[in-house]
Structures are given as C-alpha cells and as structure tokens.
Subunit: 315 residues, 2 copies
C-alpha cells in the first residue's frame, strides 16, 4: 500500500468523486462516526458520497447515518474504508477493491491501494478531523457530532490511556463547531442496560475478598447470566467491575464456558501481575489484564486461584 500524507489524502478526495465509504463488522462509534463525518464533509464540498449499509448497525448509532447510506457497491464508485483493521473486518464486501484506507490499528496490513495508518491516534476520528480540515471543510453541527462520537467512544470518553492532547483538541474543536455533547455522553457512556446492572448487583453480593480487600474473586455462574438476560456485549466490560471496587488491586472474574470450563479474566493495579497469575494456568496477557481457561468448574477453579494467590505471595 502506498502511504499518503494528510494533504495528499485531501488532494485524493478533491481529485475524485462518487465515494463509497466502508465500515467494519460489529461497528463501533469510531468507524461509524468517521464514516458519517467523512460523508458529510465530502457532500459539503459538492461531492457525491455515501456509506455502504452495515448489516450489524445498532440502534444507538442509527441516527448518525440517517440519509447517508446506500445498499450496495456499484461500478465506478471510489471505495474508502475507515477504521477497518483488515479486509476480513469489512462489514460487507462482494469482492470489490478498496481504493483508500484511513485507520489507526497498528496491525493493519495495508489492504488498500493507498492510505494512512496512524497507530498513535486514539481514534481514526482524529485522522478524519485532519483530513476534513486539510480539505477546507467547515464543520457543521452534525459533522462535529459524528467526529465527537468517533473520538469519545474509542477513548471511553477520554478516560482510557490511549487519550492524548490531540484527542482532546479534536473534541474541543467539535464543541467549538456546535456539537451538543451532553446528550451524546448520556447515551454512549451513562446509560446502562438493566440486564448488565443485574450482573453488577450479583457480583456486588457474591464477590469474595482476600488480603484485606486487595484481592477479589467474582464468580458468575452460567445460570445467573441466563437469568439476567445478558448478551456477550453486556459482558464485555464485566471483568473491570470488581477491579474498580475501592481498595481492590487484583480482581479475578470467572465465567463458565459452554463446555463447562472456567474462563478467568484478571485485571490488576501496578504491583500486581495479572499475566503471572494467568501463566500458572497456561494463560497469558499483560501485567494489568490477562486471561486463562481452567478445565474445571467454578468451585474448583476458586480453590486453584486461591492457591495461585499464595504462590505469588499475594496472600
């Protein structure tokens, strides 16, 4: 893939027309926010542009794409993927080539003819902001809100460690351009699915603490997940719940896999090594976040983890 600079990408958009913007599978705020902002920006310059419908689009993001999508690729369209890490991750592709890509995943193999991959960017939204600026697009409210959705969702509303000064400067520019961020923040970050709250409640009532509360084990039986009605999406961030209890330095969250094995997700603060704990069970990961699968039921797994705590000198 030929790597382009931001000014070169601006020239590419100015020199072409009839754009089709592509998003990734299980679309998130970054890919959809980028697509919406780029589409609106191109249209504001008089270009023809649309976003390829994503079959996995959820209600949360639907309003941002209203009036911007088309059902299929047509010959002659100039394809541009945003925040798509690999060809496999394209939501829909009937074999047409990707002309340009804009992304921030360091693992991107560069599957387009031309493009730009900036791994230091917290969100691809930061690149889209730069590209629109280089094209001389004046951000209107809808475009600014789309960029805000992109940069805020990929950084947990600026709380994650990937957040940089640049991320916040882009967000500031969105507010200055008229983005109404309060309702976005409510919808994206404050709203909680009730099913997930029921799991949180279960953990609160059943978590077991060790070492004056520095260690915690939260075991969630499969029937509790079923009774609460949670989806895999709901369960995605559950392993940070016990870790965020005041005083907890290392938390082990247990779920039961369909085959009856126990899956551990371990999260830890500096001074506690999640990867070392998981390595004792053949698992792996990072110091702060690791995982392992134990060929046993939760009760037995709990005893094994308690032994591991002792082995590492945590207990």
């Amino acid at each position: 893939m030929k790597t382009l600079t931001i000014p070169e990408i601006a020239c590419f958009f100015k020199a072409n027309d009839h754009f089709l913007i592509l998003t990734h599978r299980r679309p998130d705020g970054d890919t959809l926010g980028c697509a919406a902002a780029l589409c609106r920006g191109l249209r504001s310059l008089g270009k023809t542009a649309a976003i390829l419908e994503n079959p996995q689009l959820t209600d949360k993001y639907r309003p941002y794409l209203e009036g911007l999508t088309v059902p299929s690729f047509e010959t002659g369209m100039v394809t541009v993927s945003v925040d798509v890490a690999s060809l496999d991750m394209l939501a829909k592709n009937a074999g047409f080539p990707v002309r340009l890509l804009l992304d921030h995943h360091g693992t991107n193999p560069g599957f387009a003819e031309e493009g730009l991959i900036v791994p230091e960017a917290a969100a691809t939204g930061e690149l889209i902001f730069d590209v629109l600026e280089a094209m001389g697009v004046t951000l209107d409210q809808a475009t600014a809100e789309a960029i805000y959705v992109a940069v805020s969702t990929d950084t947990g509303c600026f709380r994650y460690s990937n957040t940089t000064a640049k991320t916040l400067r882009v967000a500031a520019a969105c507010l200055a351009a008229g983005a109404e961020t309060y309702p976005i923040n409510q919808e994206m970050f404050e709203k909680r699915r009730f099913a997930r709250l029921r799991i949180d409640a279960y953990i609160t009532e059943h978590v077991v603490f060790y070492a004056e509360g520095r260690l915690a084990i939260a075991a969630i039986p499969l029937e509790v997940e079923k009774n609460c009605g949670v989806t895999e999406d709901d369960m995605e961030s559950v392993s940070t719940f016990a870790r965020n209890i005041e005083g907890v330095c290392l938390a082990v969250t247990m779920r039961t896999l369909p085959d009856g094995q126990t899956k551990l997700s371990v999260r830890s603060a500096p001074g506690y090594d999640a990867a070392a704990l998981c390595a004792l069970f053949g698992g792996g990961g990072h110091k702060a976040a690791a995982g392992a699968t134990l060929p046993m039921a939760q009760d037995e797994a709990k005893l094994a983890v308690e032994n591991a705590f002792r082995q590492l000198g945590y207990l």
Copy 2:
C-alpha cells in the same frame, strides 16, 4: 469587589509575595486542584506561596497537596481564595480578610477586595490555567495534573453539560505538558466504594418500573443505607442511578429523612418534567432535576407518586 482581568491578575501576583491560598469547605477537585496549581505556579516564579490546611481534606486529594500546606494564617500574608463561592464556604477563616478571589460560581457576592468571577467557566481550573499562562509559567507535570484534576472533576470527566470547548482545550494543554491522566481518571471516576455498590445492587433488585420501563421508582429504606454503610457522600449521586437505566425517562429516588419523612429526588429526560412532578408535593427544581419532601413513609409516598404520574399523563 473590584473585578480584574486575567492580565491584571497576573500583574497582581507578580507585584505581591507571601501568598496564602484558601479552599472551600468539603473540598472537591476544583478547589484543591486550583490551589495546588496556583501554589506550584507561584513557587516556580520564585514567590513564597502556601495553601491553608483544609481540615476536611480527604485521602483522594491528599497527594496533590503534599508539601504545599501551612497550618495557619500569619500577618502579612496575601490571601487568595480559589473556587470559594462565599465567605461562609471558606474552610477556615479566623477573621482575616480575603484579598483576591478567583471563582466560577455565578452566586459569588464578591467577598474579596479584588477578583474575577467567570460563571461560564465549567471549573475555576480554567481561570487558573489562564492566569498561569498570563504569568508565563511553564506547566510541569504536577501543575498540569493539578489543573487536570480541577477541570475533570467539575465536569464529571467532560461528560456534564457545563463542559465547553475551553474546558477540553485546557485539558489538552495539561496532557501536552505531561499530565498522566489515566491513573487520575481511574482514581476519580472509575473507582467505586463498595458501600455505594451495595446501594446500587439494592436499587437494581428493588426498582419498580411503570409505563413499559419509561418510569421508575427506587425506594431506599433507611435500614438498607445503614446496613450498606454508606455516607452522605456515597449517596450524593444515587438519584442518577435509576435515571441511567436504559429506557428510563423519569426516575424517582426515595430516601427516608431522620424525622421519618420521605425525600424524593427526581431526574428526567426531555419530554418529562421533574419540576412539575415535585411541584405537586410543594417541591421544586428544574425540568431535568427536582426534589420534594413528603410528610409520610415510603410506602405511602410510593402511592402518592404513582398518582402524580397519572395526574401528569405519564401513566
């Protein structure tokens, strides 16, 4: 009070020395972050400056004030209050006058000789940033982190509706100056007291929904509060918990006062009027957030609120 501009305030600090910085009762991140940043900034210019010890300082903020405090006012000190809305709100004052104030509370009567009140600022931290810049202070990591604490805590990490482009630009400058914001975000926004999680769990298990989940009543008995071991601080944001359940447009949270009366806190989305509901009980507030006190126990209060739902056409 004589209102000064930012350049005039910079001149004031340059022209004086031996500063004593004053914070407010029940100190929060804004007053303490401002005090720490101003104290460090003044010291970096060779001035003598200290923060008056605040007897209500909590552990969460203690690290930011290390090495910056003195126990008492001494004659000749130039007193400067930061984020203090009124003389009554001063944490400690043995009758000495306040020379200069910097604040963002629109209700501030202007109790100092000179100062600046900017109600549009989301946090007094924004003013401190401007003052330090006007004095030519180069932000070091500790000063940048103190300002970040100020602006992030007063905006719920940039989620509240008071957040402006300026707030985010100040935060961006803090990151650019080397502020490590991830551990701050963890400590200030992600950590949860276990006592408070127990209340959340109680609400999840006992909340009652009406009108297909658009209305919710969460009643918290006094003995539950006691059993969970919550403080008033823990309970401060509890009224938003039920409001943030997906689908809920209006949530009523009930607590029992020491005298046995029931206190309602109502939070609502656009289209639902919290103030109108509370007005039916002689209470008041805003459309999105209001309160009332009912001279009855929770069970009776629940029936009264259900009637109010019907009266307003919500049920």
